[in-house]
Amino acid sequence: MKSPQQRFFQHRLRAIAAIILLAMPALSPADVSPAEMSLAGSLAERSLADTHALEIDEESLAGSMKSLADTHALEIDDRSLSDTRSLEIDEMSPADTHLLEINEVSRGTLLVKTPQAGQYQLAPAQETSVTIEVTGPIARATVTQHFKNPCDAWIEAIYAFPLPEQAAVDHMRLQVGERSVEGQIKEKMQARKIHIQAKQKGQHSALIEQHRPNLFTTSVANIPPHGEVSVEIEYQQRLQWHDHRFSLRFPMAITPRYQPRFSAQVNENLTVPGGWSILPGEIPNVVPMPQTTEGANLNPVRLQIKLNPGFPVAAIESPYHSIRTVRSDNNTATITLAASPVPADRDFVLQWSAKPEKEPRAAFFTEQTEAGRYGLLMMMPPQSPDTPRIPRETIFIIDTSGSMGGASIRQAKAALIAAIESLHPSNRFNIIEFNSRTNVLYPRPQPASTANRQFAVDYVSRLNAGGGTEMMPALQAAFSMPAGNDGFLRQILFITDGAVGNEEPLLRLIHQNLGQRRLFTVAIGSAPNGYFMREAAQFGRGSFTNIGNLSEVSRKMQALFGKLEKPALTDLHIKLPGQADVLPDPLPDLYQGEPVIAAMKFDTGVQPAEITGRMGDTQWNSSLSLRSPTSTSGLGVYWAREKIRHWMRKKASGQNAGQIRKEVIGLALAHHLVSRYTSLVAVDTTPARPPEEAARSTALPANLPAGWKPATAHSGSDTGVQVSMAQSATSSRADLLFGALLILLAILIRAIGTPVPTMRCGS
């Protein structure tokens, strides 16, 4: 990676070269070849383009650091920095201290604060037991971990657990000696009161913390010397169906130990376990433990997985651990580790697939609680690769506003060109470009003939970013295209960064005008407005694709084209006997290779449910008996989460806000869920350490490294969002200085008379 200084000077030098080359022909036209002319032009262009690229790069660096490559590079950079810092500590601390940064956490870990900001010591884990119940696509995990305070002093620590994507902790219990702290769901105002009370007791919450996304953290204050801490968390996650199988991952990889500078291992070879950044199917980067120390290696893990996938299982595999599988019947199994307990040194991965001839078509699960009866229906689209090609009419909307400048517009154009080129001649298409103004390529959609596609590609490649973001007229233009009943599948592909201030009128517009159309959103750039894009796709009954950088365009767009070309089932409806509530409402379309998952609350079972849909222009019917032999947990929670989402969406379609708030709070409290109106707060259910103890503990114990501080603060759980910092400097000073230097140089040359050229003039 280039340093900002390098980039600055490269950009300026290129600009000077361009000026010189462009000015040349004016002075002596004969000396300059056309090649040089075009070189000058392209240099000037590149230096302009570079300004944009520079801004974007900086933003994405300071911003969310979404691209994996960047994050890794940075983490490695950070480590090389911290190495030198921690080396000094190492010299004065016991030899077996392992220091690490919170971003390096790759499994459930108790981190003890050290005097070095951002550096933590690992508290040895005594035992970890994990129970995961898998019900169809839902995994509910209960993790219990025991730790021990390694010091002779009261300490403050942070418990950190790297959560899988889209998982949220809904229960948390901490036991510290006699004390117990419980995570409770409270209405926001009440949560605020608790928080203020904690503040008044002198406990304050840390405002700036080091985190990466989806790292669950909670503070554990006042751990007595050599005291034990037990942490219990529960989280629920929806598993992804990929390549005809489900895959479950539980983080157990050992956090890489800090490598001293003089270590035999070279830092460059150190692979970074990226927690959840490893894609399913990849081998996790496991760093070998260089030296075993007590506690670090003795971290026995007991793991039990109850598998009820809802279909006859062909194979259950764990690529990195040997497992013992006990099958109770055709559809369920209990999996434990063959050598239990095993030392935890790599992530546990479990994959299961269906018997090929019995690829699941549908599965149904139920849960009976005091609150009612809940169901979960999982449906696979019918596999029929030879479905007739459905004629499609695609309207592309591309955002060319100023916020799309630089890398974003290049990504957007690449994505759009890929989309146009993928069109079949039997399809029709149109392009709408908008910034402050809206431009429509054709008055009405045109067939995607070779000539038309070429024309459109040319049009798109000439687009530039600039101006404001007036999204409304563009969407209105798309919805005003005629939508007769001519057998065409109507799709709108919306490529934008979603930089809009007021989403609700836009979502309402989509909601009211959608009709038979489907809206697919493609997010561009390093920091798109993900909320708006996701919701727009949800209201538009399409899907959301996020393109973080240019290299992802082709892969992500191909996946999207697959969906656009072959929607397996549209207009899905599930009709249940009696009172029933089926979510999401309306049901999304079924695409090849993706299951549709519906949550429901209902009062009568046994009778068959009617499922209807449309495949192309044929009607599809199926009846499904709602019978599930056993009750499975987590379905009520899943239904409640879907219901909360459902209510939040009603906000955009104009429902009364007070009513929505009431409904959501009711659901969230009943099902123990974090929502817009409720939070998970850590409530200490026992009195804290007496004040005189606190005073005593401030004396530095003998065996602590110099500078260690005992704990006094207590902070809340991770209820807040985190934001990254803006790029907040310009190069105005460098510009001024550089400009002044150039002028000075010119004056100097003029004043001195520059001997060498004068001699040449005279000779």
Partner: protein, 195 residues
Amino acid sequence: MIAGTCILKRFALLALVSAGLMFTGQGLWIHAKAVLAQYLLRDAWAKTLTDGPPHKPWPWAEHWPVARLTVADHGVDQIVLSGDSGNVLAFAPGHNRLSGLPGEHKTIVISGHRDTHFAFLKDLRVGEAIGLQNRNGKARYRISDLQVIDSRNTRIRIDPFGDELLLITCYPFDGLVAGGPMRYVVTAQQSGFVL
């Protein structure tokens, strides 16, 4: 040949001077934009305060004023725009849209360029007062902390119950070139709120 080299020399001088002027111009333009925009923003802000909805300061603007930041001790009076991307910060300090605003009881995050709007941050001292006004009312803050942090490994936690105001700019203040990782963070605690 002789004439050619003489022309070359004259041309080299011309190129140097013009390039020099261009960069000085560019540098000055950044400052001019920062100052001029504030005048237009003040009008838009006055309108917002009288009738409520956000007003765009100029027709093609993508952002609108959300607050007014004052530091009486240092003669600072600036309009804050929504959003903190590069195209906002050229004109005014920018408000992080995920953060709060006065009256919301949520951490407020405002960023500004270290060489224009937020150059004054280096003069702030713990205990000094900051004012922030929006449509909800006027909030007063007292500076509690001044820190330098590394944006590569630090993120800001928006405390959903927090009453803090964070002013952020690039660090070091006398840095020449944009794009460094360090940030200067001024933390201030709310000390009062008037409707």
